[in-house]
Subunit: 87 residues, 5 copies
């Protein structure tokens, strides 16, 4: 799983079926010093609790969809945890 | 999911079975400033609405095929939303 | 799907079961200007028509194997179309 | 599978269902000389034995979840071995 | 599939269940000129014949496990052919 930071929200009215109701956030991958690294991605929020500024744990690929209530959602990246601390 | 911009269409008359009727677009991945980043890819359009110049949300891997009516299409990247706004 | 160009063929007599009879080509990924970009890969030809010099469309991961007649072939990249034109 | 080194532990109290009880470690991918290479990732420990400082073997994607007792855990990277020696 | 060269063997006594008996080799990805490119990876040998110095064809992800006799092995990279010639 990658570490990232939520940097915004995304609005898309024309979209694929099964994406309705999925909360989409823009996340910036982070390096080990907490600095931005690589391109931002769009992730579904499986915690229901993530918001801008928070540091999160991201899961990719097919597993991402399985974290949502509707597991057939066309999603390949999901927020699965809000990071309290890395020690 | 990645953010990208539709930059063209692709014509391929000799192709694998199950790709007939799948609308293929060439998309350029974008960085957080909306600038081109990385190589263009070919994506199937699951929204049925995307066209050149539009900013889109892309889903990769097996999930891509599942956004199409014919889910056995050999597709590993699909446009699942047209982006109205990133805030 | 990626764009690439067929640059050669590959011969491997000692190989995993289920790769017998699968036509393997060496392909060079291309950037948007048609220039070589990244490392060559080995792909199975699902069109049955691709040959050296042709520009092709490539599908990766599990979907690649599903384009072949023998879907249990250990293949993670396949040529699914010969590109006529990108416009 | 990648080689990496355990560099820390991660605490996340708000997380997706099915991550409870999964031991999460922060791992740094290594190059062939054993030097840090690329960004740290978060991995589940499937050996139950890995700890900070140890050199480990990592498996990615869907296979990662299948190494855990609870195979529906939303996990895309797992530690599957503690490396004794590379010769 | 990627091209690589076997550069060593790996010993790990503490490992995940189902990795017992799987032959693990360290492989170096190669570029089109046969030079080292990117980081070494650990691969399972599905040919049963690969050894240090040989040039091999590698398959990634879920397909890798399916090349082994025990298909539930937690493996995401496998050697599926020993390359005789690239022409």
């Amino acid at each position: 799983m990658q570490l990232g930071q939520v940097i915004g929200t995304l609005v898309a009215t024309q979209k694929a079926p099964n994406l309705d109701g999925v909360k989409l956030l823009v996340v910036q991958p982070l390096d080990r010093h907490g600095a931005a690294s690589g391109q931002p991605q769009v992730a579904a929020d499986a915690t229901g609790q993530a918001g801008p500024g928070e540091r999160v744990m991201l899961i990719a690929s097919r597993e991402a969809a399985q974290t949502l209530e509707r597991t057939f959602a066309p999603v390949d990246l999901a927020i699965v945890g809000i990071v309290d601390e890395v020690a």
